[in-house]
Amino acid sequence: MTEETAFADIRADDGDKPDAAVVRDALGVGVAVGLSGFAFGVTSAGSGLTLPQTCLLSLLVFTGASQFALVGALAGGGNPVTAAAGALFLGVRNAFYGLRLSQVLALPRAVRPFAAQWVIDETAAVALAQPTRRAARIGFAVTGLSLYVLWNLTTLLGALGAEAIGDTDAWGLDAAGPAVFLALLAPMLRTGTERTVAGLAVVLGLGLLPVLPAGVPVLVAALAAPAVLWARGRRGTGDR
């Protein structure tokens, strides 16, 4: 959700930054976003996933948009392959965060498989905004740890809460998923290209919903990205 900060000013040259200030920034992001695991727990349980399935997703997938997409697709009756494909496509951006982070953090090879699980929007945004390598490492670790612990705790609480509530739709909790997606999407809509892609994807996603098997329309809608890029390239109006 914080992609623009992630790619802006990787090296804002403001010299040293006190460790305490880095920790404070990191905890702010980690706690705020970590608490939204509650929405995932509720949504997942409301989509018919069991408690162990819900908790395993947060423990092992640990990238919010993909998790919401997966349980949404499964609730909509999508087959497991298309459901997983949609979730995976959403996760691809983490590879690009990893690229940036590996340069900034300079992690030893042995540490990378463990650090990889924390390579997500929020850790990238915090780490890449730091002025020094030491600050970036602290930012990455504190954001990652606080978010991981809270996200999993609140997932569990949300799933338990949903079971206690019963009909989650009566409480409006089925609106949590799309609201999360909208909140993640909003900061990405910076230029005309992004807005065109989003508009085309909405048209494709809704228009094809009645005619294609569940889960497939989202994958077709993803083609809005290369289609718009190709059209802009032909017209020679790359706006960035």
Partner: protein
């Protein structure tokens, strides 16, 4: 069983792309076109998912309380509300509209 297959595939796939970013040499993915596409792919997916989860009921399109809730989330976003408040606005308004509508 199907659910477990989907979970397994997502777990393995999502971890693999995270790790790939940390392990591959920078030059491979740093081509401008690839980066541009990677930045736009989530835009397309999130837009389609938002629309579908707001208006879809199975394979039919409906206009119900969720639309009001997501619209409230949109207003909250315009007002630069924090993430949790955006989600809470959607939930509360959806529940409210449903309660009023019977």
């Amino acid at each position: 069983m199907n659910t477990w297959i989907a979970i397994g595939a997502t777990v393995v796939g999502c971890y693999a792309v995270k790790l790939a970013g940390l392990l591959v040499p920078a030059g491979v993915l740093e081509r401008p076109l690839v980066r541009r596409l990677a930045a736009l792919l989530p835009v397309a997916l999130l837009a389609a998912l938002t629309a579908q989860q707001t208006f879809a009921d199975g394979q039919t399109l409906v206009l119900d309380a969720r639309a009001a809730g997501v619209a409230a989330a949109g207003v909250a976003l315009v007002l630069r509300a924090p993430f949790l408040l955006v989600v809470a606005a959607a939930v509360v308004v959806t529940a409210g509209v449903r309660a009023l509508g019977g």
